[in-house]
């Protein structure tokens, strides 16, 4: 009898029709970040929001920094420093292709690094690579870097988002349609959520996640709602979010208490005549009650800092007692500086939760010593443009997530408008000193100089409390660099 076969056929066909596209084992992940990246080219912005989405997912550098902050091979498989430290010879990986099929070789590397060093190309982290004098190809898969002075940190810096390798053919469209060598390619982007799709031609092992979606929720209430309704699999920074404790208790989320390399500072614009006065800056440093400020974190005590330097670095010196909370001293200093009758400043806050919540305390602290504060909330794009780029602000609260970035104070064009020839000279000396003890001593001087100058109010190291759905594995606990490495993620 043929009937059952036909029935079976129809049933199978119909069933197949319905179930087509239904999920097998989960192989996609939704990652939420608070800050929407201004664009997707990490070589063109200092905003970590771009690196978090693209670095190591879409773009890769010659080296990579792993979850423990160690330098590992990436597009370079090995490297050697010459005896005099003035040459870095890198052997490149073969068989690497960009997402558009272009080949990766020493010419591409030379182009990329030259572009990194070119002031016209607009890489905001260009200063980190000043040691490189010249890039030379030494065969199709060998590159030799001639250095102005030995720089032991260079392999580490080549693993940062600013130094990712780009191809000359796609470099101009990388802002909106990035093309890299990483395990994921970016689906057409309309400026909203970023969809990453596994790249079949990837040189390494195929990662477990087929698809990753980065969503961006600036509104704290909306973020809390998304998390509690389970629309987000991973949010890498929820530390100051009151709801994360409840979510972890509820059982469907896990919280990883990690640390970042981000120094949270109250940045001051030295171009403001009042803030150009060290007495005013010191007054502000004394006016802020750090203990009260840190109460925005629940169940965690972030490490306070006294300068722009990570306590995890061996050269760190403890300057946290340099400006104890002393409103009276603050008022005196202000009076000294001629602001006894008050001073009006604007505090422009970027959207991160620590900045908004911390900003409230800082505004109150400053008002308490007679500074009239106007609080303004900016979107991330506005902050990047108005504050970071145009230095149109008096005060702002932000975290500097690039590791070992004390060198920014040697940059006159930086948004602090801090102009101290002494510090610049010191920093040049730091860069030229390879001997560790001598170098650490110089770094200690640099930290102290910044603290003495009260360039900014150095507050604390930003905790990196990520929250992720139970069953998601491979999440980085700490954030030695700003990156959310999708390649490492998998569902249990």
């Amino acid at each position: 009898m043929k009937w059952p076969h036909y029935v079976l056929f129809a049933v199978v066909l119909a069933f197949g029709h319905i179930t087509a596209g239904s999920a097998g084992p989960p192989d996609s992940v939704t990652i939420d970040r608070q800050l929407r990246p201004p664009h997707l080219d990490p070589t063109r912005t200092a905003s970590a929001s771009t690196a978090e989405v693209t670095h190591l997912n879409v773009f890769q550098g010659l080296t990579r920094i792993n979850r423990h902050g160690e330098v590992k091979p990436c597009l370079a498989t090995a490297w050697r420093v010459s005896d005099d430290g003035r040459e870095l010879l890198l052997r490149l990986r073969k068989g690497v292709r960009f997402h558009d099929g272009s080949h990766f070789d020493s010419e591409v590397v030379r182009y990329s690094l030259n572009r990194l060093l070119d002031p016209e190309a607009g890489n905001p982290q260009r200063q980190l690579y000043q040691a490189i004098e010249r890039v030379e190809t030494a065969g199709p898969y060998r590159v030799r870097l001639h250095l102005r002075y030995p720089d032991s940190l260079l392999p580490f810096r080549l693993g940062l988002a600013a130094a990712v390798i780009v191809h000359p053919d796609s470099v101009h469209s990388n802002l909106t349609a990035p093309v890299g060598t990483g395990p994921y390619r970016v689906m057409p982007w309309d400026g909203g959520a970023v969809e990453l799709q596994r790249f079949d031609g990837y040189w390494g092992d195929q990662p477990p996640m087929r698809r990753a979606t980065f969503t961006f929720t600036a509104n704290r209430l909306e973020l809390e709602n998304s998390l509690s309704e389970g629309r987000v699999d991973l949010h890498s920074d929820v530390s100051p979010l009151p709801i994360h404790v409840q979510l972890a208790l509820r059982g469907d989320y896990e919280v990883l208490k990690g640390e970042s390399e981000g120094e949270v500072i109250l940045a001051m614009n030295h171009a403001n005549p009042a803030l150009a006065d060290r007495r005013v800056r010191r007054a502000i440093s004394h006016a802020i009650d750090k203990d009260e400020l840190l109460s925005i974190y629940r169940g965690v005590s972030p490490t306070p800092i006294g300068s722009h330097f990570s306590p995890r670095h061996p050269a760190y010196i403890d300057l946290t007692g340099r400006y104890p909370y002393d409103p009276q001293r603050a008022r005196e200093l202000l009076a000294d500086a001629g602001y006894a009758d008050g001073l009006s400043l604007t505090l422009r806050l970027p959207p991160p939760i620590y900045a908004e919540r911390g900003g409230l305390h800082i505004a109150s602290n400053l008002e308490a010593v007679g500074i009239n504060i106007t609080v303004e909330r900016l979107s991330w794009g506005e902050w990047l443009e108005q504050v970071f780029q145009d230095a149109n602000y008096d005060l702002t609260l932000v975290s500097h997530v690039e590791p070992m970035d004390i060198g920014i104070y040697a940059r006159r064009d930086y948004y602090f408008n801090y102009d101290n020839p002494e510090f610049r000279a010191l920093w040049r000396q730091v860069q030229r000193t390879q001997e560790t003890a001598a170098r650490d001593a110089l770094l200690a001087r640099a930290q102290r100089m910044l603290a003495d100058d009260a360039v900014n109010v150095f507050l604390y190291m930003k905790p990196q409390h990520s929250i992720h759905r139970r069953g998601l594995r491979g999440v980085w606990r700490d954030a030695p660099i700003p990156a959310i490495v999708v390649e490492d993620l998998y569902w249990e």
């Binding site: 129809a10 119909a14 505004a363």
Partner: protein, 445 residues
């Protein structure tokens, strides 16, 4: 059949696809709309709580905190309204929500300003031992203004809630209607599927019947014919012009060929049988067959009476010598013909050798046998044989022996032979019966 089945499958697939679209629309647009509307409602309600927080703020920090929250809510409400508008562009009431939200935002800003003033005035009151009447009066004014703004705030909030709740209800109703329509669709498609299944069933039964009649039945009939021990071509009925008919035709030809072959073989067997038992010249039984029949007769019934006669043509050698062998053969044929003609059919006749013949007469007495053979002898003697121009006179000598008491075939045969010699010795052209002798009995014992 294929058309019916594909039709049914297509119907099912089409139905499934429709359900999928409807369910997707339910899951995406409607649910998202409902979610957005719900969130909107929730935020509108929470806005009242945030307003209360703002009102209760007794420090600038608390005020700003409340204001941040309000700003976040208002911003979100704005986006949710846009989202809802994108999903339900026709809804006119959304404009109301927008307008309402704007008013509420303005109202909350006023509230914020007033609260900030109140905090500042309070701080002044707290910090001075004797508050100036101007400050107190100002505080009173601010408080009364706050009460007004709060009244307005409550009205606006309620208005917003109601406007949003309208959408929640509307979307819920739309979803209910969609689900209802979906259910009706499912029922309708179920019915169609059942009809399609029934049609397929009926078509199937018809096909099976047709196949049974046109294929299976004919094959079974042919098989039955082929199982017969001797099928004849006429048994195989050919109908139609299809493959089965041509197969039947082939089988029938095959059967015809087999039957013809069989017939030929039987004929050949019969001829062979004939030649094996007959004398080629005279057509009488040959000696081997005669002896076989003789022994068989003896064994079958040892007591039954019988006679054995041996016949020899007298002077046959002379006939051969004088007239040639052909004439001799003609003479032999003539004698055989006469024997067949004159002797009863019950007698077993054979050419025993050269010119010698044998006769087995079962159930006849010696005298009866003799009278019959005597008639033969007289007839032959009276009628010369004409062969061409030759006329051959001939006579025969006959020796008869009855079955000897207890005697076997060989002795009886010998006895008949002896009688023949006796007849020859006595001058030929005569018949001699072997009389029973006293020692016949003894010899057998």
């Amino acid at each position: 059949m294929a058309v019916a089945t594909i039709g049914a499958v297509a119907l099912a697939l089409n139905a499934f696809s429709e359900y999928r679209n409807t369910v997707s629309s339910l899951a995406q647009e409607k649910t998202e709309g409902l979610m957005a509307a719900n969130l909107l409602q929730q935020q509108a309600e929470s806005l009242v709580a945030s307003g209360a927080m703002l009102l209760l703020a007794n420090s600038q920090l608390q005020r700003r905190e409340a204001m941040f929250e309000i700003q976040d809510r208002v911003e979100w409400i704005g986006r949710l309204t846009t989202e809802l508008y994108a999903l339900r562009p026709s809804a006119r009431q959304l404009a109301d929500i927008r307008h309402n939200r704007g008013q509420l935002q303005e109202n909350l800003s006023t509230l914020d300003r007033l609260v900030a003033q109140r905090i500042e005035l309070w701080n002044r009151v707290r910090n001075s031992e004797t508050p100036s009447p101007a400050v107190l009066r100002r505080l009173g004014e601010v408080e009364s203004r706050l009460a007004d703004v709060l009244q307005e705030n409550r009205a606006l909030s309620r208005h917003l809630e109601v406007a949003v709740a309208y959408h929640v209800a509307a979307i819920r109703e739309e979803m209910r209607q969609t689900v209802k329509a979906l259910n009706a669709d499912v029922v309708r498609h179920e019915r169609w599927l059942m009809i399609a299944a029934a049609v397929v069933m009926v078509v199937l039964v018809l096909i099976v019947t047709f196949v049974q009649y046109s294929v299976v039945g004919r094959l079974t009939r042919m098989q039955r014919v082929m199982r017969l021990p001797r099928p004849t071509p006429q048994d195989i009925v050919i109908r139609g012009h299809d493959e089965i008919a041509s197969m039947g035709l082939a089988v029938r030809r095959y059967v015809e060929r087999i039957t013809a072959n069989e017939r030929r073989i039987t004929q050949m067997n019969e001829e062979l049988q004939f030649h094996a038992t007959r004398d080629a010249l005279t057509g009488l039984h040959n000696r081997r067959h005669f002896e076989h029949a003789l022994y068989e007769t003896f064994e079958r019934d040892p007591a039954a009476p019988l006679c054995l006669a041996m016949i020899d043509i007298d002077h046959f050698k002379e006939v051969n010598d004088t007239h040639g062998h052909d004439t001799g053969d003609r003479v032999l044929i003539h004698v055989a013909e006469q024997m067949r003609y004159l002797l009863p059919e019950s007698m077993y006749l054979a050419r025993y050798g050269g010119e010698e013949f044998a006769v087995l007469a079962s159930g006849l007495s010696p005298e009866h046998t003799r009278s019959l053979l005597e008639r033969l002898r007289r007839q032959l003697a009276a009628q010369p044989v004409h062969v061409g121009d030759d006329t051959v006179e001939l006579t025969i000598s006959v020796g008869i022996a009855p079955r000897l008491p207890g005697g076997d075939a060989a002795r009886t045969l010998k006895a008949a032979d002896e009688s023949l010699y006796a007849a020859k010795r006595a001058g030929r052209n005569r018949t001699v019966i072997r009389p029973l002798r006293a020692d016949d009995q003894e010899t057998t014992q």
